[in-house]
């Protein structure tokens, strides 16, 4: 089994979907999708007086965005960051409560955030995603944040530090760049 942690507002998790699903399909893996709340930040504005640390964080954030856009383009995705970063807590929390195949909901949530720049922390929007995708959930969507808090605590205790994260065998990997090793482990199990 391959456990995959994701956050809909994480560009890295978004760009990991296609290669991850390709791996899962190719090897016939059982995928278990879990939520993990990442910290996404806007690119800080260039200050008049910056410390080295502030400058580092600004340049790093800008670079990470540029890289994400570059590789998104290679996947045929026109990646546009929302002007104001939205939330994803409610939708993420509901991921824990899905009965049946979560993929239609996951795809719709990623599309909602990255194509329509929807706020996935908005109850109406999340209810809409559940309805549109015909997803069955075991808990009322208004309880999504409580579910996420519990899932987040468990994930952090398990050693998850970001998304996308993969757990296979006794190994944790953060980032789709690890897919070659993940594939190697999957083939050995």
């Amino acid at each position: 089994m391959l456990t995959i942690y994701l956050d809909f507002k994480s560009p890295a998790a978004y760009l990991a979907m296609k290669p991850t699903l390709a791996l899962v399909g190719r090897l016939g893996l059982e995928a278990h999708w879990k939520p993990f709340r990442t910290v996404e930040r806007d690119v800080p504005k260039l200050g008049k007086e910056e410390t080295v640390g502030e400058s580092h964080r600004r340049v790093r954030a800008a670079s990470q965005r540029a890289i994400a856009v570059k590789y998104a383009k290679l996947q045929g995705i026109d990646l546009k960051f929302p002007e104001t970063l939205g939330g994803s807590d409610l939708a993420l929390g509901m991921l824990s409560a899905i009965e049946g195949d979560p993929l239609p909901f996951i795809r719709a949530a990623f599309k909602g955030y990255w194509k329509k720049h929807e706020d996935l922390d908005d109850l109406q929007i999340v209810q809409g995603l559940i309805h549109e995708t015909g997803t069955q959930v075991s808990v009322d969507p208004s309880k999504g944040r409580i579910l996420l808090d519990a899932a987040q605590e468990q994930a952090e205790e398990a050693g998850i530090v970001g998304a996308p994260a993969y757990v296979i065998g006794d190994q944790i990997f953060v980032g789709r760049e690890h897919l070659p090793w993940i594939e190697e482990i999957a083939l050995s199990l």
Partner: protein
């Protein structure tokens, strides 16, 4: 910025070189450590000469600082629990990939000043370019086994000699021309979009991390077929 001689090349700008690829590394970076052999292998595979340069990280400015003794943290400044968790994961991750290369990676006991061995990169590039791989092998693995005091110039000179590089004149270089070139590069990084190592400068692309090696191979190999996604290649 004044041009500085670097072997057969001049360094005029952190993003410019007549080599097909600029590679920035720092001896004290575990990410750079595990990127060295794959990047050298790529250089050999493509039959190219990359322009290797030092970038001496100012780690406390963005990750806080810590000092360890006998594996225990005895002093820490400016690090949240989340930062600590991320740092621990990063080290574990670099360690397992190092082990796949037959290397040992032990967490450092302090944040080292890697200026001297990094100036050593400039020295090797100027005086014995063909020995660069040997120099990296003389410095990186023992440093990450905690066997080298890289702040001691005699230790760096010994590494140069071990790599078959003439160390006569290195001390003077490290305090004058080499130091000046190293210091000339450092303040230019952030303003040109570079913040860590390994960083690969490929035309207009600034790529942080060895996960871009598949893309670099594709680009330098003529851009045939579909461009690959990021990946840590495994042997």
């Amino acid at each position: 910025m004044a041009a500085r001689f670097q072997g057969e090349r001049t360094i005029e700008h952190v993003l410019q070189s007549d080599a097909p690829l600029i590679v920035y590394v720092d001896i004290k970076s575990p990410y750079a450590f595990v990127a060295i052999r794959p990047t050298l292998a790529l250089e050999k595979e493509l039959g190219l000469k990359f322009d290797w340069r030092p970038l001496t990280l100012d780690i406390p400015s963005y990750l806080g600082s810590a000092e360890k003794k006998k594996g225990k943290v005895v002093a820490s400044k400016g690090r949240s629990q989340r930062t600590w968790n991320a740092i621990r994961y990063s080290y574990r991750d670099a360690r397992r990939y190092a082990e796949r290369q037959g290397l040992i990676l032990k967490g450092t006991e302090k944040i080292w000043d890697s200026t001297l061995p990094n100036i050593g990169i400039l020295w090797v590039m100027q005086t014995a370019r063909e020995k660069l791989g040997a120099y990296f092998e003389a410095v990186y693995p023992p440093f990450w086994r905690r066997e080298l005091d890289i702040e001691d110039i005699a230790v760096v000179e010994a590494c140069l000699k071990q790599a078959g590089v003439d160390a006569a004149g290195f001390a003077a270089f490290a305090s004058a021309e080499g130091r000046a070139l190293h210091d000339l590069l450092q303040p230019q990084f952030h303003s040109n979009g570079i913040y860590g190592v390994p960083t690969y400068v490929l035309d207009d692309d600034i790529l942080f991390g060895r996960e871009h090696i598949p893309y670099i191979r594709w680009a330098l190999g003529g851009r045939v077929g579909e461009a690959p996604d990021i990946a840590y290649e495994i042997a």
